[in-house]
């Protein structure tokens, strides 16, 4: 979405931005943007999330500056199989997320800086970043380079980070461009390298381990009761490599037909843990009227597991039941295993442009089927997502 805002900024500049030294100088004016969103999530693994979001933005398209702040809170209620299988009671928690950004692009060259914080009882994430953008070829081409830095700490709920926590940092340089291909088509390509250093293992995540003969009989989707009855008493914490380099290239194509618009996105991803993925996202937006738009939404995500992924980790044990060998790398995080995720949904937007204000109301929903062909506890999850948002731009 940040990329789309860059598009918006670039296109505003293309269409409405002043030509340098073109008299008379246009009068600047401030536009206030307010956005409210309420979304809900439910899945068949007994997780429910309610997320209200508020965002406030100020901008002056003529002067070329804009700033935006947002705040959301996730109220999570979970009794997922991972929680139940570890004999942990149903829990609820809240996650608070705040973000600020500022952009200044008076002419061909612009800068955007931003930062954010995400806080929940057992996790803290901080991030800052900045982008440099510049227009070329009479604003047919806009280049971008940027970098962000994040610092994340994972702990255990109710225990201070000073007692138990894992911390890692994330440095993400990126570069890309947005290109006007023809009067109806815009193309964007962004490449990112995320350099993560530190311990990303969750202190609250334990990995079941089995004798080799038993592990061979533990199939995909084996229930928590069976796993707990078959595993060793030794239940070690998750252990992950202390460095991870992640590479992603994302291409976006937007094409305007006579009464509809295609928005297509493809991301290719690879990292040095061995996880390779492809993600395709498509919206086809149809003009029902001049102010009413509807679209189907499809998304497909396919990924291969990290190199150290095992559905059932196995070790030989001695007569006393203690393991005779170590497992240097182990995880129970299904999102590090093979995943096939299919999303289908749609939305409806009613946009009411006026002389001094533009209002829009958006209703959208998705159904997400995620398959885990080589995981314990569950082999698939169905999730339902819905969001209602109201946006106003006041001049």
């Amino acid at each position: 979405m940040r990329g789309e805002r860059r598009w918006l900024g670039a296109l505003l500049a293309l269409l409405g931005g002043p030509v340098q030294a073109a008299p008379p100088a246009p009068q600047g004016h401030t536009v206030v943007r307010v956005s409210l969103e309420a979304s809900g999530y439910h899945d068949t693994d007994h997780v429910d999330v309610a997320t209200p979001t508020v965002a406030l933005g100020l901008s002056d398209p003529i002067a070329g500056w804009s700033m935006e702040g947002s705040y959301l809170v996730d109220a999570v209620s979970a009794a997922s199989v991972d929680i139940v299988s570890s004999a942990t009671p149903h829990w609820t928690e809240r996650r608070h997320v705040g973000a600020l950004s500022f952009r200044y692009k008076p002419h061909e060259l612009g800068i955007e800086v931003g930062g954010g914080v995400s806080r929940e009882p057992d996790y803290l994430a901080l991030a800052v970043g900045g982008d440099l953008v510049w227009d070329m070829l009479e604003k047919n081409l806009t280049g971008m380079v940027g970098i962000s830095y994040g610092d994340e700490t994972a702990g255990r709920t109710g225990t201070p980070f000073a007692v138990v926590s894992h911390r890692f940092t994330k440095t993400t340089p990126r570069a890309g461009f947005t290109l006007i291909v023809n009067p109806s088509t815009v193309f964007e390509l962004v490449g990112e390298v995320a350099l993560e250093r530190g311990n990303q293992a969750k202190p609250y995540r334990y990995v079941p381990v089995f004798r080799p003969a038993v592990a061979a009989r533990i199939g995909p989707g084996t229930s928590g009761d069976v796993v707990n009855g078959a595993r060793l008493d030794w239940k070690p914490e998750e252990m992950l490599p202390l460095a991870r380099n992640r590479y992603a290239a994302t291409a976006r194509l937007s094409h305007r037909f006579s009464g509809s618009t295609l928005r297509l996105e493809e991301r290719l991803y690879s990292d040095d843990w061995g996880l390779d993925a492809t993600t395709t996202d498509l919206r086809y937006i149809v003009d029902l009227t001049r102010s009413l738009f509807a679209w189907p939404h499809l998304r497909v995500h396919l990924q291969a597991p990290v190199a150290f992924w095992q559905r059932a980790y196995a070790v030989e044990v001695g007569p006393d039941g203690n393991p005779l060998e170590d497992l240097p790398l182990r995880t129970g995080d299904r999102e590090l295993g093979p995943v096939r995720s299919f999303t289908a949904g749609g939305g409806l937007r009613w946009r009411l442009p006026g002389q001094a204000s533009t209002w829009s109301i958006t209703l959208q929903g998705d159904v997400v089927l995620t398959r885990y062909p080589d995981a314990l506890f569950i082999s698939e999850r169905m999730a339902f997502f819905g969001a209602l948002s109201l946006e106003a731009a006041l001049e």
């Binding site: 269409l15 955007e112 962000s148 291409a251 618009t261 990924q303 959208q364 998705d366």
Partner: protein, 64 residues
């Protein structure tokens, strides 16, 4: 970077120069507005092991 350079070359080869007065279609709200949602972005983040996609300066969530 090689991928970016290749994409740039391919894109430049296929494109035409578009003057400001020819950009009415590009300014249509369905071309410029965001059609995602904050909540949907978070759902994607916790369901997929891959990351990236053009974001800048946002916080992580640690939900995985």
């Amino acid at each position: 970077m090689k991928l970016l350079a290749l994409g740039l070359l391919l894109a430049l080869g296929a494109c035409q120069h578009v003057a400001p007065y020819q950009r009415a279609r590009l300014a249509h709200p369905t071309m410029t507005d965001s059609f995602g949602s904050v909540g949907a972005a978070h759902v994607v983040a916790i369901h997929e092991g891959a990351a990236g996609g053009g974001s800048a300066g946002e916080a992580g969530c640690g939900c995985n």
